[in-house]
Amino acid sequence: MAKLKIRRNPTRRYEAVYIIDSAIEDAAILEKLDKLQSLLNLATPAEIEHWGRRQLAYKIGRHETGYYAIARFETTTAVLPEFERALKLDEGIIRYLISLAEHELGAPKLSDEELASRRRAGDDDDDDED
């Protein structure tokens, strides 16, 4: 992750999760995401991770599934209010969350060896049983 630089017009790293209406076709979703990122005037294009269609944990309005996409980008704080307004007005977006990405999330990927040694340790907190 890029280190934060102190500048007069500081940029910060953000992570946005969009939940898009799953009734929209894939091509249209991609186009929509492109259009959204273009609103941000990014220096480097956003890194987009697609989760695809997913069951929602609860119904949001009439929606039971949603297309999840995650975008990571670095931008100035000033463009965000306008960006959020556009997100709110977009009927195709069921929900979105923009948060600061200042920490490396999760754990570094484990090697198979580490996984095996963890399994051998057999801790009693293992809740993975189905």
Partner: protein, 73 residues
């Protein structure tokens, strides 16, 4: 007699900062009704418990986790 302290499962998993998008991890730290499990039961250390609590709340907003489990709609 003091009970031995449980090791923090999140530290053990090598997690620096809890990811709100990792619903499978977060699901281990909520009760059957969807409440956040107290750290005295899960053994999560205070730093990770604070992160966990924020992460669960974000995940709920994003419909990755239910606000209340075991009800429909």
């Amino acid at each position: 007699m003091r009970r031995q302290k449980k090791p923090c499962p999140i530290t053990e998993a090598g997690i620096r900062y809890v990811d709100y998008k990792d619903d499978r991890l977060l699901a281990r730290f909520i009760t059957d009704y969807g409440k956040i499990l107290p750290s005295r039961l899960s053994g999560v250390d205070a730093r990770h418990q604070r992160q966990l609590s924020k992460a669960v709340k974000k995940a709920r907003f994003l419909a990755l986790l239910p606000y209340v489990k075991g009800q429909t709609g």
